[in-house]
Amino acid sequence: MAKDFADPQLAAALQTLSARLTKGEFAKVGKSHADLLADLARGEPLQRQREALLKNLEQIQKELNELEKRTGTEGKPPKEKK
């Protein structure tokens, strides 16, 4: 199912259910809680990095707007090079 329908989660569910029906026990088909927590922890610095970049972008845009106001190029597209 993972191969044919691009759905590894559904395939994993089917696998553990099949194990329960044929062998009497659900099979472990994925990663542990420790892996989940590690993945969540990896996301935190990336989130902070994203926020910092957005703040930076906002600052650049503000400075650019100020410059355009002073030079009278506000809202005008940049001149094309010949």
């Binding site: 044919d4 990663k31 809680h33 989940l36």
Partner: protein, 164 residues
């Protein structure tokens, strides 16, 4: 919905800001019977779906496969204001039988429902893209009595080809 699968046990507690709570329990009927149950969940599983998954899991009724759920566990009331407006106010949160708050609160490390230990199945970027592609390709077919049916018409390997 939870009572269809769960005979006994706490389903959810709704706790207000004053600490008082209302607990919903299974009433012992479980009309669908006791059979092996696996529930899929991911970051798009939200609200009522999280309550069902969490209650079934914490009462040892189902195994959860996938990734941590969305974390929408707030109860909102709409209060009318003078002049035709209204205010939507969060008045309570849903708590699982273990006491875990479903709501994702900024800064907190736990929220929603986790898959069963050992059954965390995340998708990588390529798999997510392939899955979304497969879902976009689904044709909504007309049902028997006019109701839409979300059927999938694919040939074997049709979608899997994208993963290769």
């Amino acid at each position: 919905m939870t009572k269809l699968f769960l005979a006994k046990g706490t389903i959810v507690t709704i706790k207000g800001s004053d600490g008082t709570g209302q607990t919903l329990k299974a009433d012992g009927s479980e009309p669908l019977g006791d059979f092996p149950l696996v529930v899929l969940l991911n970051e798009q599983t939200a609200s009522a779906a999280e309550i069902v998954a969490g209650a079934l899991n914490e009462n040892d009724r189902a195994v959860l496969v996938g990734t941590r759920s969305f974390g929408k566990g707030s109860v909102q009331n709409i209060m009318p204001l003078e002049g035709g407006g209204a205010i939507k106010l969060t008045t309570a949160y849903y708590h699982l039988p273990s006491g875990r708050n479903l709501q994702r609160i900024p800064g907190q490390k736990t929220w929603g429902v986790d898959p069963t230990d050992g059954d965390y199945v995340p998708l990588d970027a390529k798999q997510t893209e392939a899955l979304l592609e497969a879902m976009r390709g689904r044709e909504i077919l007309g049902g028997k009595d006019g109701a839409a049916k979300n059927d999938v018409k694919v040939t074997a390997g049709d979608v899997g080809e994208r993963l290769r």
